[in-house]
Symmetry: C2
Amino acid sequence: MVQAKTWILTKHFEGFPKESNFQLKVVDLPEPKDGEVLLEALFLSVDPYMRPFSRVRMKEGDVMIGTQVAKVVQSKNAAFPAGMHVVGRSGWRSHTISDCSDLVPVMPDWPKDVSLSLALGIIGMPGLTALYGLEEVLELKAGETLLVNAAAGAVGSVVGQIAKMKGCKVVGSAGSDAKVAFLKKLGFDETINYKTVGSLEEALRKAAPDGYDCFFENVGGPFSSVAISQMKPFGRIAVCGSISTYNDTDPQTGPFPHMTMIVKQLKMEGFMQSRWEKKNAESLRRLMGWLKQGKLQNREHVTKGFENMPAAFMGMLQGENTGKAIVEV
Amino acid sequence: MVQAKTWILTKHFEGFPKESNFQLKVVDLPEPKDGEVLLEALFLSVDPYMRPFSRVRMKEGDVMIGTQVAKVVQSKNAAFPAGMHVVGRSGWRSHTISDCSDLVPVMPDWPKDVSLSLALGIIGMPGLTALYGLEEVLELKAGETLLVNAAAGAVGSVVGQIAKMKGCKVVGSAGSDAKVAFLKKLGFDETINYKTVGSLEEALRKAAPDGYDCFFENVGGPFSSVAISQMKPFGRIAVCGSISTYNDTDPQTGPFPHMTMIVKQLKMEGFMQSRWEKKNAESLRRLMGWLKQGKLQNREHVTKGFENMPAAFMGMLQGENTGKAIVEV
């Protein structure tokens, strides 16, 4: 009999997550029935969205939500034979009995020299988020100036690189000198360490004196108020994340952006990459092509050991990672 | 020699405008030169935008900005012969020497039984604002549910009526029982007196339990936070005005809307009707057609006497008007 290690949300988060919000629980798995498979997790993702969505999509006692790259180790489903690698929404589990409804096979011609963990990052949800935010929401054009914050993160670092490929000027903000150095290595035109910069307003103005055509928003909170005030007329804002507010016990407040939005005729749109799911197969091939051509650089922050998932999650929320935060089982 | 009465902004507004912000000044006008005309104001507009734009487009000592319907009384420009009626951006002036660059002739076949003052309202900028906000920004579709605030105002009252013509459910908010009665007369499906309703949140939910597809925003401030939380997935928000914040000395603050915008994938866009100026001639004919067919009802709040312009302006900012606020010289 196979035993699965699982991480349970024992209590909804109040403020910043604590060790006591999580409990490791070992459960016995049944044999897979017809149509089912047994999965073994290889890599698990920890992502910012898990913090706010824990309230929306989970109740206390549930296994933490999340995506993993897994190997089919036993199969009663011909479409998912033993040995296949899949991306699944199994949550924080080492082993899973799945009816396959949430599984997507890893790209069939996945190159041998590329870690499968990238299917959770640059060739996965964060890469697609960056691509769709730029192409579908912002409709970014060559020659435009783009601002992206949390720029050294899983999404932000891809955003900046794709925008450079599209012939844009890219300004990135991140929270340490090491991250800023990483952004420079990726080819960002201007970089800002928002934690040490003094006046964010002045730094943003100096980085792009004529203002910003597009803003890829991952942070929210006070950063957004400063950024919105420096948009050009007809500027577009893609609201992808709001990590600076996820752990608020009382919601942060800021000035209403309405007058700025009217006078500059700004457009602001919230989005999730799942909206363009039908394009995923083609989009993942494009991302993989750019990676293989050296046009996209990948960076991961790997934590080893399933038992360290809560620590990896909390570290990611504190900005410990440069690039994609991954747990390797 | 013709003398012009003008209203000067003596000092920039701090908080709510006061009588002392304005000064009536009489100036002698020269003879019109080649290409110029002498205008006599018949109707002048007082609009919410004048409050925030006074900071952006005026300096102390300038004549107050604004639009008027005027008659050409003397002409040295063949395109604008004596006797023609025009809409011009002359500001708060009884008489003006104009080089004609800002003048638009009133629709040539303007019906005799329709007051020319409507060229400042339902067949003018506010009507166009309503139309473009609904058609160009929101792309409102039949069967959708629309929320509009300041619904008894110059723009809001047209918004609601056009949305009803398009087969939508319309919920309107206004600040008195008399205004709410006016909205009912216009055919609004649900009406809310936001000043007496107790919980705006509950009132909005009761008016549209499934939420709102579209929100035509004229008010801003705390109303916007409540409204945004009740949008349907993929809801659209046209940000037209923010009258509740125009007289702030310290900017009002509210919770950041980012998480709601992400989870519901909302789109919010600020706009000014001038963006679609090329469509104006056709759009004004459409508005006039609806008016003549009885599909659009007009309501004006007329103040008599050029000397009462500051009072009319301040009254409008306090919500004294139902329908369009106009000054008749």
